[in-house]
Subunit: 479 residues, 2 copies
């Protein structure tokens, strides 16, 4: 018991001292992840997986509302199939895991473990799409994918991760573009309203777009550290894949046409984003909408008569409306408090003999530390109000942080200096030339995050080369 | 359109003509599965996946009710880790897929794609279990696994399949045995009450038990063809894996002890079982409890005024209580009927101008073909009653089939003759000697399915060698 208690009471590295260490401390000490024997592959523990299940539940029902259907594709892609779309294979081949043997036999053709499933969906669509009546096809899949990364970090970049990948096929280019943007908006809605994480919506430059895509849209978020994180992407393929895979349909005018396709995905990386947008030096801080446990009841002096009974009464009253748990273990309240703080549980309810006498309980917020003494008759209402307040306040705090850490610059000196002093999003004009993107990356370490939908005219010259520029771009160092 | 309609109106092979062809016809024509380019790997299409989602939903909430938590383990197992438990590696090594390269580099150690995850869970349990306070650990995982099978059939035996695998660790042998049986009972409850499929509960012989298990329990079901199918298994590992992986904990008496473990799983194979237990020559027949669509509304003469409106009224009245859809496409009612029959939708509601005049609708059952004329005022109640009736009747029909196809024999001549004439479950006494199992398999093609919990004394001699025998065993040919 002593050993177990120590594990939690132990401090984590403050984020100002070492942000990377702070992050991995939380990941481990909030019991989100354990490391496995395979480099870069993580074990997602029950508490981490419960967050993923909540993410899945909300997104999956949103997808279904919009008419998407779930399917399951094989996890293997034959090498020849991966090679069908030239840009796509160039982008992914260097980072895939290859299966070469089945049992004791060498395979005739190598299979890669899916890094993404465009090629499999295309191959299937070719089989099942014949007529305009078969369109649109709105498919989605929840699965794990593998990308053989050299430098890995739990949730942010790992050799295997969990995700959903939507793959759709449409009769026209317009419909495909509509779908691409619709799904980006779903992701933005989800991040802002469920994860309380503000995002910048925009388009990737050609250099940063998905291998094989005509255009890639993205939502970009900013972490505590001022480092950017790509939180979700939505790709429009036009008819590029359709031509490579010969996916044609007979349209209403009886002509044979190529379909237009999209794909879009978010991953377990979102859990990393939650940690780095909301966490503090006491551990994880979870937005109520995605928290596996929204309220932890902690009985004080629970050996005294009536305390546990009252705690259980409250539990029974709340269960069903709130995701509530009661910690009636024989650990000390102090240990329970820090445990619940480390795990980022949004609200704590303390109830002891004194409180019972006064028909009240104490509610404590994880995000601000504020405490409230609440009459037990109003406890359910108050909790529900507070959870809404916390969700909103967390979003607003994160929004304020992004605003404070977003800087406009018009020359490279200011650009470099800003990133050295206080990293964040840099807004600057860009001429559209990839050479400038490369030079900026070289000079500052920042990549173009996106060309935001909401444009501002900061100047009429490229921040890098000084040539005419009409695109405002978000730049930043990124995970 | 002509082509699309043809696809469904086309007959499937009758099951008496060619059962295997009948099965694959349904799998394809009910749009459950498409074949992929990878031998033995299937694409699970939306309708098939929706059945799997219903299976998941019910089982997952049952597991959680019993205190199990979901986790996610890596999909790769290093060769050295797989080899830690001797029996286990011998059982699985011949049928795993090996990853040898990551990107362009050869891996230092081969990784197998998980065929099952005992070794990964053990490795993790060793890390996280120290004290009796950490026990029991009740983990489950939903994922895909790979077994490099030579002969494959969609759902029944494929190189990749979806499943859940429960893995638990307990302080005592008794608790582990309790858990093993508890989960077998959950599976039996699920098959009988949700899938309307009767099962025989029992223990596997040593020859048939899981590689590395101390004992394996199984639920065995019987298909239309009289061939048996293992529908789910639950394994008790004792402390075998714990010793191989050194998973020890300090017990209340302050002594270091090995944990006792279990694992248990069911797979997408259950969808194959549904097809072969309930299907008929018109296609799939789904038990209401697992059907993605329980009721299909088919408007008759839908171009006539008021028909579609009324159909939509009924739809709106039912949606939320029943999984209902309306087929208002411009296909003919005849086409819609056979489509809905092929997909095994339990109930069909027909509504046309005449029905509207009489304030009634026709309900037709997929399982028996019976039709009912029902007053629209009572339609919701009647549908809910009928769905219950169908669920019960389907179970009873399947139960009757198993009873009719279960035969007791006391000598090998009758054993062989019975399987040649009418295959089914054969009940016969067994001495416990593996040599007799092998001989029976050799003579008849039947394997021991299980030693059922419900024993009968058919004789006191082994059906094979004539030596004293006190175990009654179910035998059968199996998928």
């Amino acid at each position: 018991m002593a050993q177990e208690q120590k594990k939690f009471v132990e401090d984590i590295t403050p984020m100002d001292v070492d942000f990377a260490k702070w992050y991995t401390d939380i990941v481990k000490k909030a019991d989100l992840v354990d490391y496995s024997h395979i480099k870069g592959c993580m074990i997602i523990r029950p508490y981490g997986y419960a967050i993923w299940e909540n993410i899945q539940k909300t997104l999956d029902s949103k997808f279904k509302e919009l008419g998407h259907e779930n399917v399951y594709m094989p996890m293997f892609i034959p090498e020849s199939l991966l090679q069908k779309e030239k840009d796509h294979v160039e982008g992914f081949a260097p980072e895939v895991a290859w299966v070469t043997h089945g049992g004791n036999e060498k395979l005739q053709e190598r299979l890669c473990v899916r890094p993404t499933s465009e090629t499999l969906f295309c191959d299937h669509y070719k089989n099942i799409i014949q007529s305009y009546r078969d369109l649109p096809k709105l498919y989605n899949q929840w699965c794990s994918v593998v990308r053989w990364e050299k430098t890995t970090r739990p949730f942010l970049r790992s050799c295997e991760f969990l995700w959903q990948e939507g793959h759709t096929a449409h009769a026209t280019a317009e419909e495909a573009m509509e779908e691409t943007k619709r799904m980006l908006n779903v992701y933005a809605w989800f991040c802002e309203n469920i994860l309380a994480m503000p995002v910048i919506k925009g388009q990737k430059t050609d250099k940063e777009k998905f291998a094989g895509a005509e255009s890639t849209f993205t939502i970009e978020s900013l972490m505590h550290s001022g480092i950017a994180l790509q939180a979700g992407t939505s790709h429009n393929f036009g008819d590029g894949f359709a031509k490579a895979f010969e996916i044609q349909f007979t349209d209403k005018d009886n002509k044979l046409k190529y379909v237009h396709q999209t794909s879009w995905g978010v991953t377990t990386r979102l859990i990393g984003a939650i940690i780095m947008v909301h966490g503090d030096d006491n551990g994880l801080v979870l937005p109520p909408a995605v928290a596996p446990v929204q309220l932890m009841i902690i009985p004080i002096a629970q050996h005294k008569p009536g305390v546990l009974e009252k705690a259980n009464d409250i539990y029974n009253k709340l269960a069903g409306n709130v995701r509530v748990k009661i910690d009636d273990s024989d650990k000390s309240p102090g240990f329970k408090f820090s445990d619940q703080e480390m795990r980022g549980i949004p609200l704590r309810l303390e109830i002891g003999p004194k409180d019972i006498e006064n028909n009240q309980a104490i509610l404590a917020r994880r995000d601000t530390g504020e405490k409230y003494t609440v009459c037990l008759d109003e406890i359910a209402t108050k909790i529900s109000e507070l959870l809404d307040t916390i969700q909103n306040d967390m979003f607003n705090a994160a929004k304020k942080h992004v605003e404070e850490r977003t800087f406009s610059v018009t020359d490279m000196e200011a650009f470099t200096k800003q990133l050295e002093e206080t990293p964040g999003f840099i807004k600057a004009m860009w001429c559209g030339d990839e050479a400038c993107e490369l030079k900026i990356k070289d000079l500052t370490g920042a990549s173009s995050r996106c060309i935001p939908f909401e444009q501002e005219k900061l100047s009429d010259k490229c921040v890098c080369c000084g040539k005419p520029a009409d695109k405002m771009v978000y730049w930043g160092k990124a995970y």
